[in-house]
């Protein structure tokens, strides 16, 4: 056995010790238009018009995919620090260069006998914060003057100077980096052709987001013009029937004759 003394070195391996991963960015996929992937009634009438009069006019249907079935979407990255050094990557698809924008948002947040309330996006700057109505203490007494509202310690919080109940309308700015993401359908597969995971890596953490393809895209590669994938949009008809939860009388009606069968109070 060697007589040399051993020197033990203690170090902190990545992922161990006192380091705690931190979230420093928020990811969000840009919203699709209301009627993407759906056939509107207007387009349907246009199609029937073509049939009746023998026209061959193009039908204005937005399947959410461009020629060749490519899905173009936007990934919005909201860094908690404007100068955060991060890298956005996609498991599938091509990310373009970001457009940086400072946007203004107004939100109504609720404070529930605590100091902090959270807004949806990381706050870059608070433009204004006004109480919507009164602020109340734990005994539901009105607090006067109303507590001050300031930026909280967390990136998405506003802070009341004292714990209370109340609603605060916060107008703030947030920095967004808009990345175009182009996803071409995977070849030689019938499954999950458009799936992709977008993730941001930075010193201290990693945040990811699973993207969503337009409705019907996985089944048809957006070939909704040929007539295989047509549905009416969810908001195509403004006469939405109520849910019935607050009805206080039930009348059973024969569906096909419209005849009343029985009625009773609920």
């Amino acid at each position: 056995m060697s007589a040399e003394s051993l020197i033990a070195e203690f170090g902190v391996e990545p992922g161990t010790g006192d380091r705690i991963p931190v979230v420093l960015i928020m990811l969000e996929q840009g919203a699709l238009d209301n009627y993407v992937g759906y056939m509107t009634k207007k387009a349907l009438v246009a199609y029937i018009h073509n049939l009746v009069f023998g026209f061959n006019d193009a039908i204005d249907v937005n399947c959410g995919l461009s020629l060749g079935g490519t899905f173009d979407t936007t990934i919005n990255a909201y860094p908690y620090y404007p100068d955060l050094n991060y890298k956005l990557l996609a498991s599938y698809g091509t990310l373009g260069e970001p457009e940086i924008e400072e946007i203004e948002r107004t939100e109504l947040v609720q404070i529930l006998l605590n100091n902090d309330a959270e807004v949806k996006y990381p706050i870059h700057e608070i433009i204004s914060a006004e109480w919507s109505g009164d602020a109340y203490d734990a005994e539901m007494g009105i607090i006067s003057p109303q507590p001050d509202i300031t930026l909280g310690e967390e990136f998405k919080t506003v802070r009341s100077s004292i714990p209370c109940y109340g609603l605060v309308q916060v107008k703030y700015t947030t920095i967004v980096h808009r990345y175009p993401l182009e996803i071409t359908p995977r070849l030689n597969t019938d499954y999950n052709k458009y799936t992709s995971v977008v993730f941001a890596v930075y010193d201290g953490g990693l945040v990811w987001l699973q993207t969503e393809a337009p409705p019907g895209a996985e089944e048809t590669e957006g070939d909704c013009f040929s007539g295989d994938t047509v549905d009416f949009g969810p908001d195509d008809d403004d006469k939405k029937p109520p849910t019935g939860e607050d009805a206080d009388m039930v009348i059973r009606i024969d569906y096909c004759t419209g005849r009343e069968l029985e009625r009773y109070l609920t």
């Binding site: 349907l44 597969t189 890596v201 990811w208 007539g227 009416f232 849910t243 019935g244 069968l261």
Partner: protein
């Protein structure tokens, strides 16, 4: 990004794995139908137009892609359910609340999907893949601090994909898996005769009486309990009785499949799946036997200058809401609840 295929070492054959013996499970999945989510097809409209142009009636047109057939007033909906058992020799029993199963066949089902490891070292699949499984790295591997690490070794134990180290990464997984496939047939009889039978009336009256005894009468009714009671009671009719014919003319829209098996602890385990009825079938069910579509709006004229519109469920006949509209005062649309 690397796209090289990996060879997956199998640590154990499925039949001699202890965890499998301790954990008996299966998963259910409804077979996908291409037309599952669509209710209107341009090609159907074209077909209907062509029928009309050749003098044929398109009133009762049924899309050929819709998994449904109509014969003598009976609508047969054809669906399918896959069972993915944890092992091929697993014993289980299948039941269905509405409809019946056809003969089971075993099928090799292809799968291709992204497998996300969200800072974890294992992900359980809901099926046991065959040994043809391959993985492709779609991303590098990262630790929880966003640092790239060397790609961990991937292993598969039954249905669990394991990494030699916890990480974030995305793999593209391709495989086949052996599933038990059960054809499902759901039979729906639509209303032909609007008049209730004696048996229907007796059943409805008895249910009403029983539920009122339990949950109150008139204004004191506990609606949250009364309505489910009525619905449950009405479903308990004799299985050999004539199908619903009045007020419930559209029935059997719900069907639940259940698999039951003996767990490793000696207790019965089960898994249920509520079947999704394709949109095209729903549209067909909404059609009355004379081929007309009934509007969910049912107007009541009480002689005043207002128009009362009753919204009711097309399937149950339940009133959903009542709204009064005053045509003389345009844009004056008031919601009014039915007074007790």
């Amino acid at each position: 990004m690397s796209t090289g295929s990996l060879v997956i070492p199998f640590s154990a054959a499925p039949t001699d794995n202890e965890s499998l013996l301790d954990d008996i499970w299966l998963t259910l999945e409804q077979a996908s139908i291409p037309v599952m989510n669509e209710s209107v097809y341009l090609k159907d409209i074209t077909s209907m137009w062509n029928m009309v142009m050749t003098g044929a009636s398109a009133t009762n047109y049924v899309s050929q892609t819709c998994p449904v057939s109509v014969l003598n007033g009976v609508i047969t909906i054809r669906l399918g359910v896959y069972v993915f058992p944890c092992s091929q020799d697993m014993q289980y029993t299948m039941t269905i609340s509405n409809g019946e199963f056809g003969p089971m066949v075993q099928k090799d089902v292809s799968r291709e999907f992204d497998l996300l490891f969200p800072q974890s070292d294992s992900v359980a699949l809901d099926f046991v893949p065959n040994d043809d499984i391959t993985f492709e790295w779609e991303t590098d591997a990262y630790n929880e601090f966003g640092e790239m690490i060397s790609r961990p070794e991937i292993t598969l134990e039954n249905n669990v994909v394991k990494m030699s180290a916890s990480c974030f990464c995305v793999l593209r997984c391709k495989c086949t898996t052996l599933a038990d496939y059960y054809p499902v047939f759901i039979y729906v009889v639509k209303a032909v005769d609007a008049e209730p039978t004696e048996e229907d009336l007796t059943r409805v009256a008895t249910c009403k009486e029983n539920c009122e005894a339990l949950y109150g009468v008139g204004g004191s009714i506990n609606a949250n309990r009364y309505l489910p009671c009525i619905e449950a009671c009405n479903k308990t009719k004799n299985a050999n009785a004539a199908p619903d014919r009045t007020g419930y003319s559209i029935s059997n829209l719900q069907s639940t499949v259940q698999a039951t098996w003996m767990g490793s602890d000696g207790k019965l385990d089960d898994e249920s799946l509520s079947l999704t009825i394709p949109e095209c079938v729903k549209k067909l069910l909404e059609m009355c036997d004379d081929g007309t579509m009934k509007s969910p709006l049912y107007g009541i004229d009480d002689g005043s200058d207002k128009i009362t519109t009753v919204y009711y469920s097309t399937c149950t006949g339940n009133i959903l809401d009542v709204r009064d509209e005053y045509p003389d005062a345009n844009k004056h649309l008031r919601k009014k609840r039915v007074s007790k």
